[in-house]
Symmetry: C2
Subunit: 350 residues, 2 copies
Amino acid sequence: MKTYRIAVIPGDGIGKEVVPAAIEVLNKAAALDGRFQFEWTTFPWGCDYYIETGKMMPDDGIELLKQYDQIFLGAVGMPELVPDHISLWGLLIKIRREMQQSINIRPAKLLQGLPSPLRQPHHFDFIVVRENSEGEYADIGGRLHSGQEEVAIQNAVFTRKGTERAIRYAFELAQSRRQHITSATKSNGITHSMPFWDEVFAQIGKEYPAIAQTSNHIDALAAFLVMKPESFDVIVASNLFGDILTDLGGAIMGSIGIAPAANLNIEGQYPSMFEPVHGSAPDIAGQGIANPIGQIWTGKMMIDFLGYPEVGTQILNAIETAFAQGIKTPDLGGTATLREVTDAVLHELT
Amino acid sequence: MKTYRIAVIPGDGIGKEVVPAAIEVLNKAAALDGRFQFEWTTFPWGCDYYIETGKMMPDDGIELLKQYDQIFLGAVGMPELVPDHISLWGLLIKIRREMQQSINIRPAKLLQGLPSPLRQPHHFDFIVVRENSEGEYADIGGRLHSGQEEVAIQNAVFTRKGTERAIRYAFELAQSRRQHITSATKSNGITHSMPFWDEVFAQIGKEYPAIAQTSNHIDALAAFLVMKPESFDVIVASNLFGDILTDLGGAIMGSIGIAPAANLNIEGQYPSMFEPVHGSAPDIAGQGIANPIGQIWTGKMMIDFLGYPEVGTQILNAIETAFAQGIKTPDLGGTATLREVTDAVLHELT
Ligand SMILES: CC(C)[C@H](C(=O)O)[C@@H](O)C(=O)O
Ligand SMILES: CC(C)[C@H](C(=O)O)[C@@H](O)C(=O)O
């Protein structure tokens, strides 16, 4: 039996509640399958740790994490206590960068038993491939002058390597799915980085003549996710555009609280990190009513990534069956607690 | 009787169809009111003009336009024939910049008689104030190296003056509406321009203690427009974020084809430009089925801006009454032609 050593960072807020719930589900799924098991090691890093130590994680945190097969993270951030630029750049974004998790993937799918806020959601099932290491999040820029003369500059940096990597990954994914890729651009308004993005998309597209290729401006694309989400298969987007489109993906599914995500090191030299789209939701933390589905579905993505997609499918089926019975947390209009939803998923997993 | 001299640029595609329709409605509204009339002067600029002359507008185009009270524009762009960076930057964005139309406003409102794609749209009625002269559309940047080493850099430039102007305009607008403002930010990921934006928002906010003030990251905000659009009053956003949010606003109203917009020179030294959110839609151009409502509603915004808000309200009421009778173009699921929709609005305007 194979054992996977997973570094667990519950993080802040509801992360501390949904991570243990998801671990229960993943353990049961592994036990039922019988081919593999998990060994979980928890690191208590995050805003509490920062308040105690002045750091979001210890100095050797990245080195420690490198010893694990994968990272399973809850949520990071307590903006009332610790400014975002410290909490996120000291933990979440730091791990993405230092572990070269340069691809972020986030599926959006109409789940059985879960009404979408869209009147006619048809049966959408798409996945957003987000460049996860550069672009608009380059953290380069600064300010000049003060008072009325002040100017702030932000540089977006798109490298050939980073752009090709994301776009090529998306084409490969489209090849294993419904053979359709959509590129998010804005080259009509953003006149240097986005024409470059378009060129790389067109060039790599030539290697995949069998795949239907579309390019949409981000404004139109955001609207299309509301008007006709069923027309997308794989969407490839820059760091910022991917961020926006995936929250929209969560919204049309019914709640950000169910949207899963993976930060992948596709070269395999470092662990990948599995972390849901939602944040730490300090307003509802500690009440036992957080939605665990985003974290559970994120765990399913980790199992898929480890090479057991049939097991992943069983988890998603269990989620859908639980929803079909009306067992839902308040963010989805239900009255169930985190515990009840977790138990329902565990129960359906057989 | 006051006469307003309006420069009309129908532009490309469906712009040539919807602009004359809107002019009929505006003329009737003015005649019914009796206090003012329009004198329309049409300029045949756009992609056809470019194909003939090599320019989107003549060299003295901006000087010519300055002689008019306002500009009424249809749509610009024929990407199959003329690259966007030529058509848009040679006409639409050029006018916005050279006329210092630094504020773009775009309302989104659940119209009577028009089902939203949202299952429970409640009664949203918000307006996005978009910075329209700088930010992510600064057109500054470039490339270094070639082949595998190539890097593209895009600079977003936020000035104190431009940022303050947009945010202050939005606060003033909120004061005349429901006293609530939401700022679109992304300072957790975009670490120079967006913290600057947040600072300016907080600082100007101190001058308006009676106005409820919220700041949301653009990813969450996009999701909120789907989940709870009724919770917004005035949203203030950078050039790019405003662009994305207003297409989403069109989508939740039922079609981009009805969303109106105004590019305002709030200092009043140059004309403002009234131009709907939708583009030239080459795929349906010339068939008489384009939706004229976006252009008509844009005309209503021009009438409001000229100082006749009661007349503007009558136009919007006529639109809603026409919709309530089921008279809709195909993009809204109806079967009416552009002519039929225009006639219905004209008929309801009494
Ligand atoms: C055509 C394009 C450059 C433009 C913009 O992004 O400003 C359009 O999308 C708009 O919103 O008016
Ligand atoms: C917290 C924030 C920096 C982050 C991002 O924008 O990457 C989040 O929104 C996400 O999508 O994981």
